[in-house]
């Protein structure tokens, strides 16, 4: 099969392509037949609530978890037969850190780089570069164990880049990072994208997904429920604006029946009502005209959060 093996520039293959991909654990299907295609150079997102099957999908792509059914190609190769060759060219940030906490920051990077067969001199230099990136240079020779959770996360992310991967798999990369570190990472991921590194990211954070992803899929219960760019999804599944109404505790019950017809669509959350309309201001006036008096109101643009709510009936915000 001539198309197998190393990337052939004249006949470019998708970085990842899955068809009817299934992952079963015992009886339950964590991934229940999904089709995905990730193209070279794009940032692709998996969005979904807990247990949607995001990590299971990521682990299949990372060639550490065999698929139960369906087809999967990563970098044009089959994970089943070419696992080590694929793994040599990708970088993985697992959902849970698995650093060697008994070693130093520097040793973690160097030792890990050596597993990719990189020369000692190369990993020495690379470790210095990556510690600067992760802003851990001043902790270079400290043991990892006592570092803060965010620092460990940064080190895990830095470690995933030790082999200059073509494809980076980031499973909830920014959980546990403070806003500053999060923005730093977003900036760095953007840079990597400019350099042509393909990225696959899972997240619960809608803002992060909107910032980072060119294209994303929303997963729920092991299935893909929608696919598109963030703005495309918002356009398809939500209105331009959202009006949020908050009532005094205990006063929300029954209010929706008085205003529901003013909006294209509505959602009732435990602490507020959401009215979807293209003109939030006009809707608010109409609400007031009916004599409904919320304690506070907010008009905002639709986000992926609203798309998600529409598609799964559940809120992603924990």
């Amino acid at each position: 099969m001539a198309r197998d093996g190393e990337g052939d520039e004249r006949e470019p293959h998708p970085m990842v392509s899955g068809k009817a991909l299934v992952k079963r654990f015992g009886g339950i299907a964590a991934v229940a037949g999904i089709d995905v295609e990730v193209r070279r150079g794009e940032s692709f997102g998996f969005l979904g609530p807990n247990g949607a099957g995001k990590s299971s999908t990521m682990r299949m792509i990372a060639c550490v978890s065999p698929r139960s059914d369906g087809e999967l190609r990563v970098l044009g190769m089959d994970p089943e037969t070419d696992g080590p060759r694929i793994r040599a060219r990708i970088g993985v940030v697992p959902q849970l850190d698995n650093l060697d906490v008994e070693l130093t920051v520097r040793q973690n990077l160097q030792v890990y780089g050596r597993y990719f067969g990189l020369s000692r001199a190369h990993v020495r230099a690379k470790a210095v570069e990556l510690m600067a990136f992760a802003e851990l240079s001043d902790r270079a020779d400290d043991q990892v164990e006592p570092l803060s959770g965010g620092m460990k996360r940064r080190l895990t992310i830095a470690r995933s880049m030790v082999n200059d991967p073509e494809l980076l798999l980031l499973d909830e990369p920014t959980t546990g990072l403070d806003p500053q570190a999060r923005h730093l990472l977003w900036g760095r991921l953007y840079q990597l994208k400019q350099q042509g590194v393909t990225q696959i990211i899972t997240t619960h954070d809608m803002h992060e997904a909107e910032q980072l992803c060119d294209r994303l899929v929303v997963m729920d219960g092991g299935q893909i429920v929608a696919e598109g760019s963030p703005s495309n999804l918002i356009g398809r599944f939500s209105t331009r604006e959202v009006l949020e109404l908050r009532f005094a505790p205990g006063k929300q019950d029954g209010q929706i029946t008085r205003v529901a017809d003013l909006a294209d669509r509505h959602e009732v959350l435990p602490d507020r009502l959401l009215l979807y309309a293209d003109d939030g201001e006009a809707t608010l006036e109409a609400v007031h005209a009916r004599g409904v008096r919320p304690v506070s109101t907010l008009i905002r643009r639709s986000t992926l959060e609203d798309v998600f709510l529409r598609l799964t009936g559940r809120s992603l915000v924990e």
């Binding site: 654990f25 080590p84 793994r87 650093l99 890990y112 597993y115 067969g117």
Partner: protein, 252 residues
């Protein structure tokens, strides 16, 4: 596989003191207590093959030490790689396969057992514990016996999903009896006939027999070959089982 050993080496450079203490110095303390202290009360006689007790016990203590640290190193530390520290999961996300990971673990253990054995041997030499040059082979016997006992424990670790209580049970009901009934401190003839089967199935006994043959001389080559075959069979079976379970644990 070798790269994995390098990773362990990075760890060892930081922690060699405490680890050397437990695997190398401990058997020496035993040797001092049993060989020199207790041994001074024991007369050379038929039971010790006509040898002084120090000469009788020194090779067996090396092998017993290697067995203990081989089993110890393969229990909680290996389980941690899967469960707590999860560094095995990190390693198998690289081009390294679970089989190579296991190989690296075994190789690293062999190096450490060898190193501890050499140190033990040299210090024991200053006690005058060795009678003939053949005693250098005892280090190799220790390594092989230690690995043969370690491999099944690694397999057990790979199949352990709880907090590892079974290791405590294993130490208590497998390792300790093995120490006592493997003709480490006294010859097999002293063991009640009804319990002797325990000795026969004990890898440590087979190791001890070869080690004594090397250190003291004068034994049946056929018997030695038999003991060696037992250890190699255990080693091969253990590695194959561990390999299977490493894959089962890491490729899910």
């Amino acid at each position: 596989m070798w790269l994995r050993v390098e990773g362990h080496w990075a760890w060892y450079r930081r922690y060699w003191r405490s680890s050397l203490y437990s695997s190398g110095i401990e058997p020496l303390l035993f040797l001092a207590a049993m060989g020199l202290g207790f041994g001074s009360q024991v007369e050379a006689g038929a039971a010790t093959g006509g040898h002084e007790y120090l000469h009788y016990v020194a090779p067996a203590l090396l092998v017993a030490g290697a067995t203990m640290s081989g089993m110890g190193e393969s229990s909680f530390p290996v389980l941690s790689g899967f469960k707590w520290q999860k560094d095995y999961i990190a390693v198998t996300a690289t081009p390294i396969t679970p089989g190579q990971l296991l190989g690296g673990q075994m190789l690293w253990l062999a190096i450490r057992l060898g190193l501890s054995g050499v140190i033990y041997g040299l210090v024991a030499l200053t006690f005058g514990a060795w009678l003939r040059p053949g005693a250098v082979l005892v280090v190799g016997v220790g390594v092989v016996t230690g690995l043969a006992c370690a491999a099944p424990v690694m397999a057990l670790a790979a199949a352990t999903y709880d907090e590892g209580r079974r290791f405590v049970v294993m130490f208590r009901f497998v390792m300790v009896p093995m120490m006592l009934f493997s003709a480490t401190f006294f010859p097999i003839e002293q063991i009640p006939i009804g319990l002797r089967w325990l000795t026969w199935i004990s890898p440590l006994w087979h190791g001890n027999e070869i080690a004594r043959a090397a250190a003291l001389g004068g034994s049946d080559p056929l018997a030695i070959a038999g003991h060696g075959a037992f250890l190699l069979a255990l080693l091969v079976a253990g590695v194959l089982l561990a390999r299977k379970l490493f894959y089962r644990r890491l490729v899910v």
